[in-house]
């Protein structure tokens, strides 16, 4: 019966494999992980190779070819596979270049938030006591504040640029890292190898950096992948609201916002970038869930 799909089954002992090889085998058998990996790889390739792949310059306006429909509709042409926007810019090229913004902000924000959150989590989990109370307190404060509104406020002050968005999103969404890393560190804190390192006289920094961090890294990676999806959605929302990436730079959220006036007659202008965000975020989530299954098959959250 397939009822125990999500539970470890009582498999009899099989030949022991090296952990890395076992992980690789699990990855190869994990459909969601493979699909997610393919989508994310594709987006990354678009971002890196945008100038090579994109059929047109995403910034060049061509007012004679405004609002061309995509190729599968009447009046569409192969020159503009996904049609053009209100300034005659090629939509496909803008979507491809938009991957740069999305991936840069997504990865950058997660690096920032991952650093802040993991550091807080490690400190709180390892030292306990008032340090831990402070970390928990900071996390509660962070959770209580409306993130999107704060991001919007900060953006009006600092202006919407790639750097400011990346930093702001990074500073606002570190809580999950802190919570997960703190719990994991607490569990490790009392294990024998930490006690051994302490008795051997290792410094606290060394223990945190060399003994604990490598052991919570898997969990950080899983959270990072899931948080990247959120960072991408937040960037798109901020840009959609007009306070994030500023035109004419192509951000997917901005593309949807630019297509909004044409909702009624040119729905592809919002649906193409909207679907693109959706597919990428699905991909990242599949990748993240897959990583969790692969990296910690027994420690399902």
């Amino acid at each position: 019966m397939a009822s125990n799909l999500h539970q470890p089954t009582d498999l009899p002992e099989v030949l022991p494999l090296s952990p890395r090889r076992e992980m690789l085998l699990r990855a190869q058998g994990h459909k969601g992980f493979l699909i997610g990996l393919a989508i994310v790889t594709l987006a990354a390739l678009c971002a890196v190779l945008a100038p090579v792949i994109a059929p047109h310059d995403p910034y060049v306006q061509d007012l004679t070819n405004r609002l061309l429909p995509p190729v599968w509709q009447d009046g569409g042409s192969a020159a503009h596979l996904l049609g053009t926007d209100q300034f005659g810019r090629d939509l496909l090229s803008r979507v491809i270049y938009g991957a740069r913004v999305t991936m840069l902000v997504g990865v950058g924000a997660v690096v920032v938030s991952g650093f802040i959150g993991s550091l807080l989590g490690l400190l709180g989990g390892y030292f306990g006591g008032w340090v831990d109370s402070a970390v928990v307190f900071l996390t509660s404060v962070k959770l209580a504040m409306p993130g999107v509104l704060i991001a919007l406020s900060l953006l009006t002050i600092f202006g919407g640029s790639l750097l400011s968005i990346t930093l702001i999103v990074g500073f606002l969404f570190w809580d999950r890292f802190a919570i997960v890393v703190r719990t994991a560190t607490q569990q490790l804190r009392s294990s024998d190898f930490i006690t051994a390192a302490e008795t051997a006289g290792a410094s606290k920094a060394w223990i945190i950096g060399r003994e604990i961090l490598p052991n919570v890294l898997n969990q950080i990676i899983v959270v990072a992948s899931l948080e990247m999806a959120i960072a991408i959605l937040v960037e798109a929302s901020l840009s959609f609201l007009g306070l994030g990436i500023q035109p004419p730079m192509p951000s997917w959220g901005l593309l949807v916002s630019e297509g909004r006036p044409y909702l009624m007659f040119k729905p592809y202008l919002i649906n193409v970038p909207g679907l693109t965000i959706f597919v990428l975020v699905v991909g990242i989530n599949l990748l993240g869930d897959g990583l969790r299954d692969i990296l910690s098959p027994r420690g399902r959250a």
Binding site: M1, S3, N4, T9, D10, L11, P12
Partner: protein, 334 residues
């Protein structure tokens, strides 16, 4: 008179990738109305699973097959789910091992007691309440009316198990299956709880299948006993027959290494060796790798059941050989 429970050639297996895990391998027994039938054996010998199968509560992935498995003459195996639900809790009920987890933590004990009565349409809320209070008094929870509003965590383990016993009796069942009913309890309240169970059972004329690994409990409470090993019943008979003159080397080993005979709290002693793998068929006697009487003839086929009146056992050796050579004490070999 027809037996209350009639099980013939019951098999329970769980499919695994390495093959079928055969937890119960062709056991047969009957339970008469009002009697107490004990099943003893080490954990993993199949004693719990076989009686869960009688309730239709075996693990989801388990496969149950039998030539015959009836309760009050009705075939349990072919019974639709809904019909099975109608007799569960009413005609046959169950007492589980751990009273700390067997009761739902978020409902009062009154709610959990009356529920089984009203859900089966035996009466209204008022009648159910009266019955519940009466039963709670009988199991020794005084001032039961006031205690109906307590939550399980407000009672000690012993009292909780009494609530579980009362709950099993709510609908006046013909049979109670008690799966290690006192094992999880404090030693000091084991005898008391067992006494309450026994008293209620005789007052209501209810039959009981008692699953236990505690020989003392079995000796005190049961009329007949079946000894299970590796999914098989290796010996069965009245308590007097089996305890006084065991015919199977496994039973013999169990009995002989209890100094001073069976007493309450006497757990199953350890016999050297390990239980054979339960995956796939076992050729020959299931006990032979731990039996010092084993010889060539023990290695092949299924050992036939030998009868001596009501006393049945699966061993090719004569009782005299067993009595003379015995089975070494567990302590002596350790």
């Amino acid at each position: 008179m027809n037996p209350l429970v009639d099980i013939r050639n019951l098999h329970v297996s769980i499919p695994l990738t390495a093959g079928d895990l055969k937890v119960v391998r062709g056991i047969s027994y009957t339970v008469e109305p009002g009697e107490t039938f004990a099943i003893v054996g080490e954990s993993g010998c199949g004693k719990s699973v076989s009686s869960l199968a009688l309730m239709g509560l075996q693990p989801k992935q388990a496969r149950v097959e039998a030539d015959r498995m009836t309760f009050e003459g009705a075939d349990i195996l072919s019974m639709p789910r809904a019909a099975l639900s109608r007799i569960r809790g009413v005609r046959l009920s169950m007492i589980f091992q751990d009273p700390m987890t067997a009761l739902n933590p978020v409902y009062t004990i009154g709610d959990q007691l009356t529920e089984v009565y009203t859900a089966h349409g035996l009466g209204g809320r008022k009648a159910a309440r009266e019955r519940a209070i009466d039963l709670l008094e009988r199991v020794g929870l005084h001032n039961a009316g006031a205690r109906m509003t307590l939550y399980p965590h407000q009672l000690s383990g012993g009292l909780r198990q009494r609530v579980v016993i009362a709950m099993a009796m709510m609908c006046h069942p013909m049979l109670i299956i008690a799966d290690e009913p006192t094992t999880a309890l404090d030693v000091t309240v084991q005898a008391l709880t067992l006494g309450i169970l026994k008293k209620l059972q005789s007052e209501f004329g209810t039959a009981m299948i008692l699953i236990s690994h505690d020989l003392g409990v079995v000796a005190n409470v049961a009329d007949r006993v079946a000894v299970m090993y590796a999914g098989e019943i290796v010996e069965t008979g009245t308590v007097a027959e089996v305890f006084a003159a065991p015919r199977h080397p496994y039973t013999h080993g169990l009995m002989s290494c209890i100094p001073g005979g069976a007493h309450l709290g006497g757990r199953l002693p350890t016999i050297p060796g390990t239980v054979p793998s339960l995956i796939g068929e076992i050729d020959g006697c299931v006990f032979r790798n731990r039996c010092h009487l084993a010889r060539g003839a023990c290695n092949h086929g299924r050992i036939a059941e030998r009868l001596d009146g009501g006393h049945a056992y699966r061993c090719i050796h004569d009782p005299e050989t067993l009595a003379r050579q015995g089975q070494p004490h567990a302590e002596a070999t350790r």
